[in-house]
């Protein structure tokens, strides 16, 4: 027993010392390491791209982690990471000096209102949608659906999806206090199981358990986003410092290459940045 314990202490001490040493060694010696942290929504895309990229660049090590857009940007700001992944423009994130960092838009994500299948409608006007989220319309029969009270599910304040939705739908009005959920998956499950529920999701999360809504008879499709006929969409950003290593530059270029844009981006349910016919700025204004 005593021996076992001594052994355990010894091993842990050795392990600990060893790893701390290697930690210092690795992080100070090697330059070819990229860490991208931030948006959980963007993570799968960057991660997959990084995996493919590393197959051809064996010496490069890319770590992609989540943690949220705010975390990504603040860690970039303190230069603890190489790339900050974000669903929101840095200009719209409080506490971030957006002038010191560079935006790399790598994809576009469309967002659609979704409802529980039992509410009885498939289309809604922009005005009514706004009123529902304002709390002025409280029953589906007021918009031509069944007699079911409306249950609004919001996204978490400060999240990219909510920012985009509010900027394009709410027109400056504030949303009612309601449920707030922080992930697409959870929202989808709640919508699917709660009668009368309404929320909004990225296109790629819409499946047959829920009903997406057309707005003013415009369908939520990639094509409509590309032409801006469907207004509710936003960019996925990868922010970096102004001065970056060549490896990082090359990796970011790879993200915008046809290989990724035509391949992974589509497969993961995003809209390719190169297919967009319009551009938006941080204030949600269309600039061309």
């Amino acid at each position: 027993m005593i021996k076992i314990k001594k052994l355990a202490i010894m091993t842990s001490a050795v392990l600990f010392a060893g790893t701390v040493l290697t930690a210092c060694g690795v992080s100070s010696a090697s330059n070819d390491k990229i860490t991208a942290v931030g948006s959980t929504a963007l993570q799968p895309l960057v991660e997959e791209a990084a995996n493919d990229y590393q197959k051809e660049h064996k010496n490069l090590s890319i770590t992609v982690q989540g943690g949220g857009s705010g975390t990504g940007l603040s860690q970039l700001q303190s230069r603890a990471v190489t790339i900050g992944n974000s669903d929101v423009f840095a200009e719209n994130q409080k506490g971030i000096k957006s002038k010191d960092i560079v935006d790399h838009q790598v994809a576009v994500v469309g967002i659609t209102p979704v409802v529980n299948k039992g509410v009885g409608i498939k289309n809604i006007s922009m005005k009514n949608l706004q009123k529902i989220f304002e709390g002025k319309i409280t029953n589906w029969k007021q918009v031509g659906g069944k007699n079911i009270p409306i249950e609004v599910i919001n996204r978490v304040k400060g999240s990219g999806t909510r920012n985009t939705f509010e900027a394009n739908v709410m027109d400056g009005h504030s949303t009612i206090k309601a449920q707030e959920q922080d992930s697409n998956g959870t929202v989808r499950r709640i919508i699917a199981t709660t009668p009368g529920a309404i929320s909004y999701l990225s296109f790629s999360f819409v499946d047959k358990t829920i009903q997406s809504l057309s707005i003013d008879n415009v369908k939520p499709t990639d094509k409509n986003v590309e032409t801006n006929a469907w207004k509710i969409w936003s960019y996925e950003h990868m922010y970096t410092a102004k001065k970056v290593s060549d490896d990082t530059k090359k990796f970011l270029a790879y993200m915008n290459s046809a290989e990724v844009q035509k391949g992974l981006v589509k497969k993961l349910g995003y809209i390719s940045i190169s297919d967009m016919k319009v551009k938006k700025d941080a204030n949600n204004k269309v600039i061309n």
Binding site: G95, D182, T186
Partner: protein, 304 residues
Amino acid sequence: MEINKKILMPSKETRQERFGRTLSFISISAIVVLVALILYFIISKGISTFTDNHVNLWDFISRQDWSPSTIGKDGKPEVGALPMIVTSFSVTFLSALLATPFAIAAGIYMTVIGPKKSRGFLQTVIELLVGIPSVVYGFIGLTIIVPIVRTLFGGTGFGILSATLVLFVMVLPTITSLTVDSLNAVPKHLSEASLALGATRWQTIYKVILRSATPGILTAIIFGMARAFGEALAVQMVIGNAILMPKNLITPSSTLTSQLTTGIGNTVMGTLGNNALWSLALVLLLMSLFFNILVKLIGKRGKF
């Protein structure tokens, strides 16, 4: 060597003892240092809402509007944490209250009255439950408990009641297994003596075993409440996670922990939005300290 010389000189045992004491003291110090570090971290971050962002402490604990990134009508940021404090308090208290009788019953069964085989079975089941990720609890709550509450009590089904039921299942293993530990620690001869004096089994359990295990059971409850307090993902899915003052047990509301967890990734360190979340963590810490002391006081008064 002469015995009288030997007993005046340090021996191997003296060195062993010094070594052992030092080793165990280092361990406890390590824990104390870790605790101190994390407490310092939370306190310093949590306080900056009031020191750096000049939020009024009273506003923080008495107001009901929470939206630190927006400026309210009175020109101050909306940082009223009252709804979350009330909800966290109720959820924790109710789930511990609900789980305790079950845990004590299960504990008594496992240590005193049940056959040995069933003890092992129950122990295993409890050990398994601790390892289920909270997301899974959340989803099961969402697909089973919320609809049941909705059908039975109306409303949306989201609210304190559903959260309490989910947390009840989550804290049950913790409370039960620590209760079992403390029941096991009651010396066997005490209960044997009681039975020998002609007391019934229940009298023995109630007057002898439970009484001398009281401090341990209270600690078990504290750890259970701690788990309930700190739980975010599961609660967040079934409570509705809306920052509203709970009117009853079946309207949506939100706990400190779930606000903290959902908000922290979307805010930038050093901003009011982020600091306010750390203040929530600080409140959580103080509340759990409060609970802890409360339970210990009850324990002291309850003993004879």
